[in-house]
Amino acid sequence: MTALLTIRDLSVRFPTRFGEFTAIESLDLTVNAGELHGLVGESGAGKSTIGAAVIGLLQYPGYIASGELYLQDTNLRELDDTDFHALRGSRISMIFQDPQTSLNPLMTIADQLIGTITQHSNVSDSEARQRAIDLLNETGIIDAETRIDDYPHQFSGGMRQRVVIALALCTDPELIIADEPTTALDVSVQKQILALLRELAQTRQVGFILITHDIGVIAEITDRVTVLRHGRVMETGDTLSVLGNPQNEYTQALMAAVPRLHTRLERFVNIVTDDDDDSSSWSVEGASSDYAANWLNRDITDNKRSNTSTADTPVLSVNDLTVRFYKNRPGWFKRDPGFKALSDINFSMQRGEVLGIVGESGSGKSTLAKAIVGLVDPSSGSIHFNGEPLPPGSKRSRHHAARREIQMIFQDPFSSLNNRHTVEHILSEPVRFYQLASGSANIKKLIASILELVEMSQTALLKYPHQFSGGQRQRIAVARALIARPSFLVCDEPTSALDVSIQAQILNLLKDLQQTFDLSILFISHNLAVVRQMANSVVVLKEGELVETAETEAFFKAPKATYSQQLLAETPSLDVLDRPT
């Protein structure tokens, strides 16, 4: 039996002004009919490039430098443009990441489906319409007969992705390339879409190439997997054996860096080396991580001394916190109840505790963070910090002590650092603003030391943020928070924009800092596995309401609320690997 797709010795190159960049290098890959084949790797691994090469839509100026691509017996590299285009849709199709943007907003679902069907087969419009309706039913659109005449914006995200799948399926292709098909969706929807793909592969014998960065997704639904790094195959084979018993060094490191839902690690064992290649020995005189550590610790002891009387009071307590957002400001005549982003939230945190806040998108976790740091004003309820009431953001004085004591680490390190300022400028801002040190030389020494503390080279202070990778930027962001000498950190999804191996490093760093400086951390994440690694206790939010508060270990062993149970069950996990086969 010939494989559905055979790739031999494929190399893809992109000419750039810095010379030619090899995105894919001598890659071999086979996909069989009815198989879900996972392509997994961190950013820059070349996963999407493989998909684009197979369907012949490599982004300019990329080109296939060498290799063979066969779809059954068809040599794809010998096809001319017209023949290749005819093959798209009819034999190979594709599903894109974001259902919000992959449908034409000005055409009804019917127009798009019927147009695609009649393009590839000789059927009448009414037959095509019937087939389209059947497909929508098959992909789980309820009431397909009427919904088919709707426009894309009338569907929710999950439903849109079903429409996208129906569009990819409507011409009966043999192979479908799904490029991060569930990344833009919530876990519960993700679960359903993945089940749908699984089912379609079995019933229709379609071969799927599933491109994703999420090893949990791979483990849950693929039959075979290929692990990629820098455009090369690291390891390929049966999913359970590759992920469960990796032979390749990189795969081993990668698997060690994936946070597990059912085990808590004290530290990630890190074998994947960081991409920091700056080895120059330039340094500021007297700067060292010890200097920074001493400086930070001295402050914390000061704090403790001043707060001895309140040692038992919770560091943070949130009482009946409600936040409403108004579309239109409530006027004199209209009473707009607004949208409740958070309603009646109560919890408290002890000094040195790490509290995990979990929930899906729209649960209000970020609003909670914003209310604490003062970006959003509570509509009612109160927040106490160190026993003192914390004024709402708009009334909090610009020199309120809590502005320094509470620091925030943001999700996206590409957005949280000002690209037009040097790292030195960025890090000196809090020092100067809070008047923590004086004298340029002194400040410079301090900044260099803090960089050492977050395991960055001191030369970083001369550079601009865009010269760093995501992980390095997040270290700089941590340094910026730390240099304010905070006692409390709010971390809003601090690793969700990072690759797994980088995530492991940042989580390790945060753990170390928390222990060394006895920091209290409010740790917000949609990723339950990450929260399990970090938090002492957990708060679960759903649509603005508090669902459950629990000790971390107890929560993950036996969640009480139905919603928590459901959330845990829907999270893709590596359980399958740990189960005895």
Binding site: I55, L57, H85, A86, L87, R88, G89, S90, I92, S93, M94, F96, D98, T101, S102, L103, N104, P105, L106, M107, T108, Q112, G115, T116, Q119, H120, Y151, H153, Q154, S156, V164, L167, A168, T171
Partner: protein, 327 residues
């Protein structure tokens, strides 16, 4: 739908009130109306009596209300310079400007849209590149220089076409049209071309960049990946999305045409509203300026309303969200 229109109408009324206030301030406070109307020899008492009889001593609010009422009922007042009723002056000249504007808008759309699509699809072809160079010159050469050039070539050197005025116009009621005689059509050609070229280049550049943006979107990539044929892809999928913003621009373009017709009319001595306005600025004929301002604003408001309604027809997102989205 009804709510959408009524909200837009309300906004339009608001804009018109703002503009009429501006026009009133212009009319009432820029330069002294009395000083403009009477000669040096009129006595202070006579001036004062005139002032009183014209209501210039009434409270400002009353004066403004009267100003607006007069405008609404078509009482536009008299020009300081020619002593003619402004309503008649403008009505007499409006057809010339509207016909000129309509023809050049037509030229700019009929040539500009296809050329824009062509250059967006053929990014590096010879014709596409030449067209792009032409548009660069089109936006860079001032309208009046184009006009002078055309006059020199077709009027002075070749002597083919008339270079000023409208030629023989035919009166249909009060509307004097230049579409019905060969002479007036010949007269129309150069001015319309002059006015149209700049708008044409704008249309073409806009359509091109919108189309390029649309061709880069995920839904076009997805449609390509489904093997939709190129023609359908470009002209059905992409063009529709391109035209949504283009509709707005056509609305704005009409504004541009009205504005640049001032220049064109000046070059060709075309007896339209633009020339009238220009003269009113040159001779500080304030009442004409303020009425012109109000009328132009009214025209823009009407065009913007039409554009909004067109949006309503083209874009289902606007249409359906105003009906109350069904999610």
């Amino acid at each position: 739908m009804l709510r959408f229109i009524s909200r837009r109408l309300l906004q339009s009324v608001f804009v018109m009130l703002a503009v009429s206030l501006l026009a009133f301030v212009l009319f009432r406070f820029v330069g002294d109306p009395i000083a403009q109307m009477v000669g040096q020899e009129t006595s202070i008492e006579d001036q004062e009596r005139l002032r009183d009889s014209m209501g210039l001593n009434d409270p400002v609010i009353t004066q403004y209300t009267r100003f607006v009422t007069n405008l609404v009922t078509g009482e536009f007042g008299y020009s300081y310079r020619t002593r003619q009723p402004i309503g008649e002056m403008i009505l007499d000249r409006m057809p010339a400007t509207l016909e000129l504007g309509a023809v050049s808008l037509l030229i700019s759309l009929i040539v500009g849209i296809p050329a824009g699509i062509y250059t967006a699809l053929r990014r590096d072809g010879f014709i596409a590149n030449s067209l792009l160079i032409v548009t660069l010159i089109g936006v860079s050469v001032p309208t009046f220089v184009i006009g002078i050039f055309l006059i020199y070539v077709f009027g002075v050197q070749l002597g083919w076409l008339p270079t000023f005025g409208r030629g023989d116009v035919v009166a249909l009621g009060w509307w004097k049209t230049g579409f019905l005689t060969l002479d007036s059509l010949r007269s129309l050609l150069l001015p319309a071309l002059t006015l149209g070229i700049y708008q044409l280049t704008l249309t073409m550049r806009l359509v091109r960049s919108e189309m390029q943006e649309v061709l880069k979107t995920d839904y076009i990539k997805f449609a390509t990946a489904r093997g939709i044929n190129k023609r359908t892809l470009h002209f059905n999928h992409a063009l529709r999305n391109t035209l949504v913003p283009v509709v707005t621009i056509i609305g704005l373009q009409f504004g541009g045409i009205i504005a640049f017709s001032i220049v064109t009319e000046s070059v060709y001595q075309w007896p339209g509203m633009g020339l009238l306005f220009l003269d009113s600025i040159r001779y500080v004929d304030i009442p004409v300026m303020s009425v012109y301002l109000v009328l132009i604003a009214l025209m823009f408001v009407i065009i913007n309303l039409i554009v909004d309604l067109l949006y309503f027809v083209i874009d289902p997102r606007v249409r359906l969200s105003s009906r109350g989205g069904s999610h």
